[in-house]
Symmetry: C2
Subunit: 291 residues, 2 copies
């Protein structure tokens, strides 16, 4: 059976032509939710994928397209609950060849308010790949999600803005002058990670030192980037200790973030497995259309 | 004796016509260091203040105009040292009526790398107002400085990027959608401050909750702003505890930041005094020209 899988986020749109659970073609586009008004989504989708629509076509979507400002709102489902429920929320469309549904996000009110949109689909894919998994899913990204999974349900979760915070400091703060380029230094990362984990309350006082060490000692920007990353991820691990300590962890992220979190968690003696984010997204969306 | 005091920062320029220690006129301009090349500073200064130059004129400057990319570099002086030394670094000028000098910043290499430019002048002003002060100066701003003062010298200092971090989250992160306006809520500030001080390692995990509480519970943006401020200042106080604990503290900042830090420190039982930043800057620059 042919169908179309879509991951429609805030700043990007990815679509795959699927044959059952296997992707046979893929396209990317920069028309994310924040560039579109609700009435522009169907047109944008057809603009990208019209040649994949050959008669009645099933389209399953996850991500911010299901937000209030998106294509069609999929109201949050409250945890504890399974990551997905049925086939998603039906989307009214003009082109009657299309059968479109969007996966709703998840919400939590206690012990703290939290939301996710898109990650619930990755979690479903993770559970499809690792049935009966009981433990912690770590989904690093702009807003990293730490998720407690048990008996096929999302029990609770915690968002930490580590990716966005790194980008803000690296691109928009005074530190940008000292963090240019793409350099990296594993030793600097390990040192900063360990320091932030053992003294998390000192982390905020370490940041400006990255600028000062450049001005006074000509610190390499690669070492500075890795130190900033180590400090922020160390602070994140200190804050989320109850999520990962003594639990199996599956890390589900990009080629860039996954190895960094894997290194950080293994350094704490955590047993980790990894699953690429795109693979988990497709497995999650596929679970909506395949029995 | 008439002279001109200048506080020339990264993003702004403030000049005062002085009669001894008393300001008799003041002007502001947006041509900060980051809009100017080195050869444009003298022209910019005269553009702002030419009518104050009536024969030979003394001009004393503090701030980023003394950085490498500024008007004329004033190399950092290493602590421990007095905040000022002599009349500052002479600046070569074209207009020979002008006698211009810039105050150099301070640097520290141990226990951590740190720098300041401009705050050393405020500290000199603070010591002029409170002779023999022994304790901690807290200078809140974009980059808050915590300074240990003893026997008229800067012993050590610590920069925390709290002001810049607040602006980044409030203006450029996903939280901006939930932090609009100028609202404020003292109770929310106090609660967040106390929470971050007692559990500083949890602070980074609280930030995204400001967005979620808006989406799920319609949290007021004023409460969210005050909570963000309380979390960041709480984390700052936790990181700088050795600077303020058991010490007298003088807070030297703007009308906006000074009361917030005063409230936060008093809640920890700290004895505080306050001194407006502009007053301390002028008193510091005046100490260069008056015996």
């Amino acid at each position: 059976m042919r169908w179309i899988a879509v991951d429609w986020g805030t700043t990007s749109l990815r679509a795959w032509l699927m044959d059952g659970e296997a992707p046979i073609d893929a396209r990317n586009d920069e028309r994310g939710m924040n560039r579109l008004t609700p009435d522009a989504f169907e047109r944008t989708f057809l603009d990208l994928a019209a040649d994949w629509v050959d008669g009645p076509t099933t389209v399953r979507i996850c991500g911010m397209a299901g937000a209030r400002q998106g294509w069609h709102e999929g109201p949050y489902r409250a945890v504890p609950c399974t990551p997905l429920d049925g086939a998603g929320v039906k989307v009214p469309v003009d082109d009657d060849r299309l059968d479109v549904a969007i996966v709703p996000g998840l919400s939590q009110t206690a012990p703290h308010a939290d939301v996710m949109r898109g990650e619930e689909t990755q979690i479903a894919g993770l559970l499809a790949r690792f049935p009966d998994f009981d433990g912690c899913a770590c989904l690093p990204g702009t807003h990293t999600k730490w998720v407690h999974l048990s008996a096929g349900e999302v029990v609770s979760f915690q968002t930490v803005m580590t990716g966005e915070t790194f980008q803000l400091y690296a691109k928009s703060s005074v530190l940008r002058h000292s963090l240019g380029g793409d350099g990296w230094d594993d030793d600097a990362f390990d040192t900063a990670l360990s320091e932030a984990l053992s003294r998390p309350e000192r982390m905020v006082a370490r940041l400006f030192g990255l600028r000062a060490a450049d001005l006074l000692q000509g610190q390499e920007s690669g070492a500075a980037r890795a130190t900033l990353s180590g400090l922020l991820i160390g602070a994140e691990l200190a804050a989320t200790r109850p999520w990962w300590l003594g639990r199996d962890v599956v890390i589900c992220g990009s080629d860039r973030t996954m190895p960094v979190y894997d290194r950080a968690l293994r350094a704490q003696g955590v047993t980790t497995r990894t699953l690429p984010a795109a693979e988990s997204t497709l497995a999650g969306l596929a679970s909506l259309v395949t029995p």
